[in-house]
Symmetry: C2
Subunit: 330 residues, 2 copies
């Protein structure tokens, strides 16, 4: 910086002002400084900057090994949104979702050059962590709502599930079967709860739910069972991949979709439009979730806010060919 100042014939403070876009610098001076910067290839030293400013302009993101497409898309949106606000994103990988690993990530976090943290994981692991987070603000995108203790941004799982069930009921189906996600997942649990509640509210009897583990393979196995249920005309699968397996099983068993059985998925993964038939599903707006995480965490940093809350991102029913009225043997 001193070199630039000398070359431009100004003080280093003026260089600093130019570099940070402060007002009160003549246009002439600014140009000279910029020219000198270019000539010397000057790059501000971000370590010194951070030291002086007391902030890193960096957000940390803790997430499980980028396993699910949802997490990945959210992370991507976080990175993009953070960049727009002039923030970088540092990744804190947690290899396996064990308590030890989470604790390890949290303690590493203490030494990390990070102003705030966004946690993408189920909240019970956060709660059970023995290592506390350093006093940096945090937003949690969790498969749970804990708006009383953390600031939460999440997809409106319940609303999406409700829309899926209502869509099928509106088409004339008597009831809706559910291909649920694994027991440990709060997202799966909330989708299942909303499915159950919506049916009950509509005066229908919920059939026993079938459980999968999110994988297409588990959906296939569940599908073989559902294909044998004579009065099953509509299924709400807790995610698109299980719906894929379900479709294959139904096809194998000669149950036509949607003529014999209607299927709705959840997530709207890119492939779902190419399923056979194209899948009606609940679209999740991961980009919006990521954006809100970043804005939430930044506003908390500014206001030093302590009150928490939950922001739900609405879903959208994407209607494709896998759903229709019952018994429509067109």
């Amino acid at each position: 910086m001193a070199d630039v100042a000398q070359l431009a014939g100004v003080s280093s403070q003026t260089v600093s002002r130019v570099s940070n876009g402060f007002p009160g610098v003549t246009e002439d001076t600014r140009r000279q400084v910029l020219a000198a910067m270019r000539e010397l290839g000057y790059r501000p030293n971000s370590a010194a900057r951070a030291l002086r400013r007391g902030e890193f302009r960096t957000l940390g993101v803790i997430t499980f090994s980028l396993s699910t497409m949802g997490n990945i898309r959210t992370l991507e949106a976080i990175a993009t949104s953070a960049a727009q606000h002039g923030y970088a994103v540092t990744l804190l990988p947690v290899a396996v979702p064990t308590q030890d690993e989470v604790n390890g990530a949290f303690s590493r976090l203490g030494e990390l050059a990070v102003d705030a943290v966004i946690v993408i994981m189920e909240i019970h692991l956060l709660d059970a962590a023995t290592v506390s987070l350093p006093p940096g603000v945090q937003v949690v995108v969790a498969d749970s709502d804990a708006g009383d203790r953390y600031t939460v941004v999440d997809t409106d799982q319940a609303g999406g599930a409700r829309d899926a069930v209502r869509h099928l009921l509106d088409l004339g189906h008597d009831t809706v079967w559910h291909l649920a996600g694994p027991e440990g997942s709060f997202a799966a649990q909330r989708r299942a709860n909303a499915w159950h509640a919506t049916l009950t509210e509509a005066g229908r009897t919920p059939p026993p739910p079938v459980r999968g583990d999110w994988s297409a393979e588990s959906g296939y196995r569940a599908g073989l069972r559902l294909a044998d249920e004579p009065d099953c005309t509509a299924v709400f699968a807790a995610n698109d991949q299980m719906a894929l397996g379900l479709l294959r099983a139904l096809h194998e068993r000669g149950r036509r979709v949607p003529d014999d059985i209607s299927v709705v998925g959840f997530d709207d993964i890119p492939e779902s439009a190419s399923f056979l038939p194209p899948l009606t599903t609940i679209h999740q707006d991961f980009a919006e979730v990521g954006r809100l995480c970043v804005e939430g965490v930044l506003s908390k940093m500014r206001q030093d806010g302590t009150e928490h809350g939950t922001t739900l991102v609405p879903t959208r029913l994407v209607r494709r060919a896998s759903t229709g009225a019952p018994g429509s043997s067109r």
Copy 2:
């Protein structure tokens, strides 16, 4: 740090020594300092550290919007491996693969707290960038080999394709058709080249390749065409998703796999084991690619090495039910 020093009754330098695990500190003193650190909740300031040490202990990763599973898995491996070496990972998202975006990422990079950069993208965008990278070492995982100008780590695309073709020839097929990836991709190009070369070396006539765009949908369309080729008994698809679409098309047309047609994919995505039938495919070791990227970049930093080279990560043929001898009407 000064507070800790005072509480422990030592100088701040001793605190520094303890905090960095330097020798020459009595066990007694060390314990006292550690106790004081705990009591005060001391966390070393990484900005000051970086300023003093002249390095950030952070790697930057430039990649396209985490679109493909391969990139994601590689990124994950990079993050994990970096963490093991005491390095953090900062993400530089490039929203769309245009030259402008890449230039933007590079210039942002200049101000970023990063010691080195790992670039996960096709090398021609790197070459065409008008903004040059600051003098930090770089490893490029590209859909191309450019070991003369950059240090490259990549999957052995050619070897994998060769194995796929040979596997089919060994089973007794006269020749192997190819469902290729999009023209713009060097990975697709190299797989196609190796397919062609392997057939030619074996004295076979390569049929005209069919092109897809990596998507299952494009594989399906290509599959409808291939199903009508009477002498097509073996297909090598350039990725698993296109193979999925291909399988569906063949099934629709009543061509049995593997009895009538054998299919080999590339990538070994998790779902491929659950395809109908389970897909024989070429497994890519993304974790190894990521690990080698990190180690490569770190060793270059240490040695200040300037010579480049290409490290190829071997693939592995995963044999499943989608391949068999031709005309095996078992």
